[in-house]
């Protein structure tokens, strides 16, 4: 019995990474399902894209284009932000605006109708409800192909008492490279 226990070994199946084909599900940007051969991916590493929306006036909106670099596909995992009063640099935790992210190639909107910015905001005050804490997680990471871009829009209303907002937004994820030299 002891010999069996010592020699018993579960053959662990190798986990598949990277996945051989990247599937874009049916319905993304009204496209049919697409399989992209992904087997040449050799490496992935964490990366964060940054967009700063400066001087967003209350009851208004601002759009910026997030350009993804050509050296690798970017898988978006989560989005965070922090909103400051532009005049005082005080943290604003109840800027009830919406954020939309639209893939410029497929036209797919990651958040149907937009996501409330307070759900993306890191909570500076732990005394507040823990349900307000942390990120807007993309349930299934979304792939922006290399050289792609996304249109990110933040819109008010906010509060007339705060004339302008500075919204610092980060897009956390990872890059996947096809070139072994990278």
């Amino acid at each position: 019995m002891a010999d069996v226990a010592r020699n018993w070994r579960v053959p662990l199946p190798p986990t598949k990474w990277p996945q051989d084909t990247l599937k874009v599900p049916h319905g993304y940007g009204k496209m049919p399902a697409v399989d992209i051969v992904n087997s040449k991916i050799v490496k992935r590493e964490y990366f964060t894209y940054v967009l700063n929306f400066m001087g967003v006036t209350w009851n208004n909106f601002q759009t910026q284009i997030l350009e993804f670099t050509k050296d690798g596909d970017f898988w978006l995992s989560s989005v965070n932000c922090l909103t400051l009063n532009a005049a005082t640099n005080a943290v604003v935790i109840d800027y009830f605006g919406l954020c939309t992210i639209t893939d410029q190639v497929t036209g797919y909107n990651l958040f149907n109708g937009g996501v409330p910015i307070p759900t993306m905001q890191i909570d500076p005050n732990p005394a507040l409800s823990p349900y307000r804490l942390v990120v807007a997680n993309i349930i299934e990471p979304y792939c922006f192909l290399r050289g792609n871009s996304a249109a990110v829009t933040v819109s008010g209303p906010g509060s007339a008492a705060v004339a302008e907002y500075n919204i610092y937004m980060v897009f956390h994820g990872w890059k996947e490279y096809a070139n072994a030299a990278i």
């Binding site: 986990t15 990277p18 964490y46 964060t48 610092y168």
Partner: protein, 155 residues
């Protein structure tokens, strides 16, 4: 290495996590938790300063968490108005596409920032931290921790 350690290493090597950071065609002989940290002192409001972490020469370092704190006048600041950029001087690549607010990438409210995928730094590489105190408060003392695993290869 005892039997438990050997089986644990087998299990780790089969994981997607290690598959995404391991060097191809090289045998991993050990993986251990490690923490590199650095300190940038007395950064006056409206100025910037930098610091360097040198990764040791005997192993890769796979970063999985980052955490940091900014202390002004003896008290930790919950949301420092300061930006940070991290540069891997070996490859020239940065961690962020632009300098970003410290608490968006270094954790918040006592919790570290969990990287959605590991970031591997090669042996004998310098990581440069550029801290810019863009707010009105200071001088700021900055503490930065990189938590992850050192990966040792045979040969």
């Amino acid at each position: 290495m005892n039997e438990f350690e050997r089986r644990l290493l087998d299990a780790v090597q089969q994981s997607a996590w290690i598959a995404s950071v391991a060097r191809p065609n090289q045998k991993i002989v050990d993986i251990e938790y490690y923490n590199y940290n650095t300190f940038i002192g007395a950064v006056v409001a409206g100025t910037q300063d930098q610091s360097v972490i040198q990764v040791q020469s005997d192993s890769d370092f796979a970063i999985t968490y980052m955490s940091g704190a900014v202390v002004i006048a003896g008290a930790a600041v919950a949301t420092p108005i300061a930006t940070l950029q991290i540069t891997d001087t070996g490859t020239g690549k940065t961690f962020f596409s632009a300098p970003t607010l410290f608490s968006l990438v270094m954790g918040n409210a006592g919790l570290p920032f969990y990287l959605p995928a590991p970031r591997v730094v090669a042996p004998n590489t310098n990581l440069q931290f550029n801290f810019n105190n863009i707010g009105a408060a200071g001088p700021a003392d900055v503490y930065i921790n990189l938590l992850g695993a050192r990966i040792y290869y045979a040969g």
